[in-house]
């Protein structure tokens, strides 16, 4: 792995650790309102300043990171799982199963993804799980499509034919023979997708469809503070920087994994 990849892993670990140990890192509670220190610029007391209710930005960014990162990572893992299963089944069995499943996948992929995610989120009460469901509902389709394409090429390989001749059950061929082959591809795809999911999560929270106030997420902080962008620009700068940095690290990691395994991922 190249240096850039190593640096991104390091930065991601750092962000995750800081978020996990947020209570130990920040001196203030994320939702603690302090009317004596409204919109204080970054200083020694508040390294990233405070917002219009006197809440510590550093603390909110760290606590927000817990939600934002865990939603993106969980959503990526679930999408991957669903996509893997459906892709395997669709590619291996082919025929009518394949036609029906792929028609459905194409239907999902024919929607603009953010618009579809918004459409799904408004059907449910706003909250963390809603965002996760919206991301998964849109995300699994691209995993399924790529895995299915890959399985189609593997299906004709001689070792699968051999396994079938030896009397392996379909289940055994699917999970013992085909699935392990898909792992590098899955790893690369997940790496490349998480960065996008961080942004989708932030966008949905920014639109007010995610975790509700006072709970901090990066997207909702930008939405709440954008009215004060002239008087307190740091309140918008910090959460946005975290979104960009986290997403950037995941994207670089994804690119590195892709180059390492020499896999071409389209879509």
């Amino acid at each position: 792995m190249k240096t850039t990849g190593k640096i991104s892993i390091f930065v991601l670990l750092l962000i995750t650790l800081l978020s996990v140990f947020a209570p130990a890192v920040s001196r203030y509670g994320p939702d603690r309102i302090d009317l004596d220190s409204l919109k204080i610029p970054p200083d020694f007391e508040h390294p990233l300043g405070t917002d219009n209710k006197g809440r510590d930005i550093l603390s909110r960014v760290l606590y927000g990171g817990r939600i934002s990162i865990s939603i993106a990572v969980t959503a990526a893992l679930i999408s991957m799982g669903i996509g893997l299963f459906i892709g395997l089944v669709s590619g291996y069995f082919g025929g009518r199963t394949d036609t029906v499943i792929m028609a459905f996948v194409d239907l999902i992929l024919s929607f603009p993804s953010l618009l579809l995610a918004i459409g799904i989120s408004i059907l449910l009460p706003p909250g963390i799980y809603t965002v996760m469901i919206a991301i998964v509902a849109v995300g699994w389709a691209s995993f399924a499509r790529i895995i299915r394409g890959y399985v189609l090429t593997l299906r004709e390989a001689t070792y699968i034919e051999a396994a079938r001749t030896l009397g392996c059950s379909n289940r055994r061929i699917l999970f013992k023979h085909l699935m392990p082959q898909c792992i590098p591809l899955l790893l690369v795809m997940t790496g490349m997708k998480i960065g996008g999911y961080i942004i989708t999560e932030a966008s949905l929270s920014f639109l007010g469809l995610g975790a509700q106030p006072p709970t901090a997420t990066w997207g909702s902080m930008i939405n709440a503070n954008r009215a004060y962008i002239t008087s307190a620009p740091w309140t918008v700068f910090a959460p946005g920087f975290m979104i960009a940095l986290t997403s950037l690290c995941f994207n670089i990691l994804g690119d590195n994994l892709r180059d390492k395994y020499g896999i071409k991922v389209r879509g």
């Binding site: 603009p112 618009l115 408004i122 932030a202 920014f206 639109l207 918008v236 946005g240 950037l248």
Partner: protein
């Protein structure tokens, strides 16, 4: 709509007016019937026809999408070209770094920063609103950033794939000038993935760049969608999503048809 402490009779009356007192199947049936007549119903709040509002706002969205693409396509292509031809030099490294960053920065944040510096501090452009070209510049720049990144990345990959093709070696062996090889043989064959990305981006901008339009107060379909979401104005949201998807599918269809002209091996059926 009527507040938290409304009289039950008032609520009942409004439910009757909006038709939300009927059971869900008959509501759905009613909506499908409207759709087949080319209608999307009326907004719960303004009581205006959703279709009329969409028609009114579409030109603004179109302007924004076209402007963003006018910035993104030349920049994205030239970045991609530079980086592919100067592969593994500092130039390639720099462009790759810029484009991966472009993909990672959320537009609602870059938009706010652009607004803060160019409009609120330097006072070059009006911060928000709908109007002439001055209002159009900031949202177009914001919207073009991720597209520049995406186009430049796909151009680079696609060109490099073609470089290794045997027909390029043949062209070189025939002694064709470098410019002719790059301009005709390589570029034309590399175009399909590039057109795909451009089409996808353009399609999603046309159904309203929800975030960018909201931030810059640009009165297009995206902001309309957003207002619908905030007010839970379901006819508006449904209308926007349906029209948005239709536009998106139409653009994808046009792109698919273009494939045939770029590469006649791809048949139209």
């Amino acid at each position: 709509m009527v507040g938290e402490r409304a009289q039950p009779e008032v609520i009942e009356k409004i439910r009757k007016e909006l038709g939300t007192d009927r059971n869900i199947i008959s509501q759905y049936y009613g909506y499908i019937k409207l759709l087949l007549q080319g209608e999307f119903g009326r907004s719960y709040y303004t009581n205006r026809k959703v279709f009329d509002d969409l028609l009114l706002k579409f030109p603004n969205t179109l302007k924004l999408a076209v402007c963003a693409m006018l910035i993104a396509i030349p920049l994205g292509l030239s970045f991609g070209f530079l980086s592919a031809y100067k592969k593994d030099t500092w130039m390639d490294g720099l462009i790759s770094a810029i484009s991966v960053t472009g993909l990672s920065v959320p537009v609602f944040w870059s938009g706010l920063l652009i607004m803060l510096f160019l409009s609120l501090q330097l006072k070059l452009f009006p911060p928000s609103g709908t109007g002439d070209i001055r209002f159009l510049i900031l949202p177009s720049i914001t919207l073009s950033l991720p597209a520049i990144a995406a186009i430049s990345r796909v151009t680079r990959t696609s060109l490099m794939e073609i470089f290794d093709m045997p027909f390029v070696t043949t062209a070189k062996a025939k002694g064709l000038p470098e410019s002719k090889i790059n301009g005709i043989h390589v570029f034309k064959n590399a175009l399909i993935p590039i057109i795909t990305v451009i089409g996808l981006d353009f399609g999603s901008y046309l159904n309203g760049a929800v975030l960018t339009e909201t931030i810059f107060g640009w009165d297009g379909i995206g902001r309309f969608t957003m207002q619908g979401i905030i007010m839970r104005d379901y006819p508006v949201i449904m209308g926007c999503v349906i029209v948005g998807t239709m536009i998106f599918v139409a653009i994808n269809l046009i792109v698919d048809i273009m494939y045939h002209y770029l590469d006649p091996r791809i048949r139209l059926n």
